[in-house]
């Protein structure tokens, strides 16, 4: 292994293997130094290993953690090959991020779905690369990373990027720009000068102590940390203006408001398809609209698929769930317009964009749909300039607080969005945290 393999990393090596590199004990007491957890399983002869981070390969008391300090061995030569233009609001956030980088601070960007947050990052990434800083963009969700990778690569064509996540086998290379799932950060140690965490609220990052530890360990002591979210968790919201500064971007890039969530009461839809739902689907089919139907459980997918196929035999559709081996292909069929509608669990709540769709949520009162999940689902609608609006219909058997809270969250964001939209002064386009 070359030295650069160890730069800013923490590599597990058996104690029997000698090394000239920096060696750290894998455990202090029973606390794993890779993931920070106290969750051990015994091995024979008083040895033990960490259960919490075993998906990245085992760390045991028979191992050392080996690393070399990050030397920032980069040329600094880079080019922003993205040709687009930022809106005034995006530009304002982007300027704030440049300051965050130079001050090595932590900052949250709270941008509604469809605000174009990736584009807002380009200037700060560009600046960091130019200054020979090491940059990572990470997300708790593999889907987000997979979707992000080609866009980032297209914006920085000349920069070598390594993409790291559990479902792929790309070999680790020492690169200035790293795209990875949050888990992968456990393998880094004080590597990054700029660390960007996308969709920070999404499962499984929210509330996961191990992944918070990973982020903390992977960034340098003196570094900038940027969090991105459309739906911050309550914990995060509580920190706003206190320990955390934030930029709030309540308007989508195309300057239209978010589609609001309409709630419809129905009878037990699992028993028989409610007339209202059937009627609505019929209408969408006649209008030749593409739409998603969100369902609470994997087991709900096939029965509804069969029912609808019987009613609308000439219309092509499909269903998809997390463990579906055809997952990517089915999403692609939807994107290519080969099918008119797709039934799905919450897995498509974020990360995936279909331009001009409508959305139905059947059983929106089920516990799998959190307030933020419903807001994210609503955020799938109205993403294109040509059709910046659309339907978001939540069918429930009982009105519950969560559905109302989601409705309210969207309305609040739209109120703020309206305020931004109709104010002419550019400095009030984005609400900085002290005004929240």
């Amino acid at each position: 292994m070359n030295d650069d393999y160890f730069y800013g990393r923490q590599i597990v090596q058996p104690k029997t293997e000698s090394t000239k590199r920096n060696v750290n004990e894998a455990f202090i007491g029973t606390m794993c130094q890779r993931c920070g957890q106290n969750d051990i399983e015994k091995l024979p002869k008083k040895h033990f290993y960490c259960k919490a981070c075993i998906m990245l390969g085992r760390v045991s008391s028979l191992d050392n953690l080996v690393s070399l300090p990050e030397p920032n061995q980069f040329s600094g030569q880079t080019e922003l090959t993205w040709q687009g233009q930022l809106t005034t609001q995006q530009k304002q956030v982007s300027d704030t991020l440049l300051k965050v980088l130079s001050q090595r601070r932590t900052h949250l960007v709270w941008a509604v779905t469809g605000a174009g947050k990736t584009e807002m990052l380009f200037p700060v990434i560009y600046k960091a690369l130019n200054q020979k800083l090491r940059v990572a963009i990470i997300s708790p969700r593999i889907d987000v990373i997979v979707e992000l990778a080609p866009r980032i690569q297209a914006a920085f064509e000349k920069t070598d990027i390594v993409v790291l996540h559990g479902n792929q086998v790309e070999q680790y290379r020492y690169t200035q720009l790293v795209l990875a799932t949050t888990h992968q950060m456990l393998r880094f140690y004080r590597a990054f000068d700029l660390l960007i965490v996308d969709e920070i609220d999404s499962f499984p990052f929210a509330g996961d102590k191990m992944l918070a530890y990973a982020v903390n360990k992977a960034k340098k002591v003196n570094s900038a940390l940027i969090y991105l979210t459309a739906t911050p968790t309550t914990t995060l919201r509580k920190q706003l203006g206190k320990t955390l500064t934030a930029s709030y971007l309540p308007l989508r890039f195309h300057q239209h408001l978010l589609p609001e969530l309409k709630v419809k009461l129905v009878n037990n839809w699992r028993k028989r398809l409610p007339r209202k739902v059937e009627q609505q689907i019929k209408e969408l089919i006649q209008l030749k609209r593409q739409f998603l139907i969100f369902l609470p459980r994997v087991a709900d997918l096939k029965p509804l698929y069969q029912k609808l196929n019987k009613i609308f035999p000439e219309i092509k559709s499909d269903y998809v769930y997390a463990a579906d081996p055809q997952r990517q292909a089915k999403v692609q069929k939807m994107r290519d317009g080969e099918i008119q509608y797709l039934m799905t669990t919450t897995i498509l709540e974020r990360g995936v964009t279909f331009p001009g769709i409508d959305v139905l949520i059947l059983g929106a009162d089920d516990k799998v749909f959190s307030e933020n999940a419903l807001v994210q689902i609503a955020g799938r609608v109205g993403r294109s300039v040509t059709r910046p609006y659309g339907l978001v219909l939540a069918y429930v058997q009982h009105i519950n607080l969560k559905v109302l809270a989601a409705q309210k969250q969207i309305m609040t964001m739209n109120r703020r969005g309206r305020a931004v939209k109709y104010k002419s002064k550019p400095d009030s386009m984005v609400i900085e945290s002290e005004k929240l």
């Binding site: 029997t16 399983e41 390969g57 459980r297 087991a299 463990a323």
Partner: protein, 224 residues
């Protein structure tokens, strides 16, 4: 809660659980798709090596062992060494997730108890493996029963040295040695390994045990 093998959230596949009931094995939760991947070997198998077959005749490989005048091990295995078993082994043995020893613990002990023998002897792992993996995968799965660690792996270094001293072909091929043969003299022995692949490891151990005074040697494994 997550599946002990594939680590998918059982939360995500809980529709499966609704359908089929939560699959529980020895206090380790497996998701339905992992559980259903393992294929039990039925009674139609090779009488010598336990390989799954359509009949109970001696398989081609075992005819060759017989031709080389190796005694039959009357080997029995619980499962086919298919993709699911391979990925189990990958995680248990090579990743070193010692916790997984519990998944087949009870079934393997049952198989051992169904065999007539005096001593249960596990196939050993090398010193190097003990220092890196930290456990013997066979003894792990047999936790809870009395084992006789009669065999040791001859270190590569030692094997090379002994070749310099004596040009003994038998010795060079031998992977194991026995420190204390009084343990096994006059005993019928059941050898246990994790996987039976070519059979050469088990035949090698059996040959040594017999030459050191064991009266008979049979063998079992988790997979074949």
């Amino acid at each position: 809660m997550i599946c002990a093998l594939c680590r998918t959230e059982l939360f995500e596949v809980d529709s499966f659980l609704q359908f089929f009931g939560l699959v529980k094995t020895e206090g380790k939760e497996l998701c339905y798709s992992c559980q259903s991947g393992f294929e039990i070997i039925g009674s139609d198998c090779c009488p010598d090596c336990g390989r799954q077959q359509v009949n109970r005749q001696k398989c081609y490989d075992c005819q060759r062992w017989q031709y080389q005048q190796k005694p039959s091990l009357h080997h029995r295995a619980l499962y086919k060494y298919n993709d699911a078993m391979r990925s189990f082994m990958q995680q248990y043995k090579f990743t070193g997730d010692y916790m997984l020893r519990k998944i087949f613990n009870r079934q393997l002990i049952q198989l051992v108890h169904n065999t007539n023998m005096d001593l249960v002897v596990p196939i050993p792992v090398s010193q190097y493996t003990m220092r890196t993996r930290g456990f013997n995968q066979v003894t792990g799965m047999l936790e809870g029963i009395q084992l006789t660690n009669a065999l040791q792996v001859i270190s590569v270094k030692k094997r090379q040295q002994s070749n310099l001293n004596r040009n003994d072909r038998m010795k060079r091929k031998q992977l194991f040695d026995i420190q204390d043969s009084t343990l096994i003299i006059g005993k019928s022995i059941l050898l246990v390994d994790d996987v039976y692949t070519t059979g050469s490891t088990l035949h090698c151990a059996a040959e040594l045990l017999i030459s050191c005074g064991a009266v008979s040697v049979k063998s079992v494994s988790l997979a074949r």
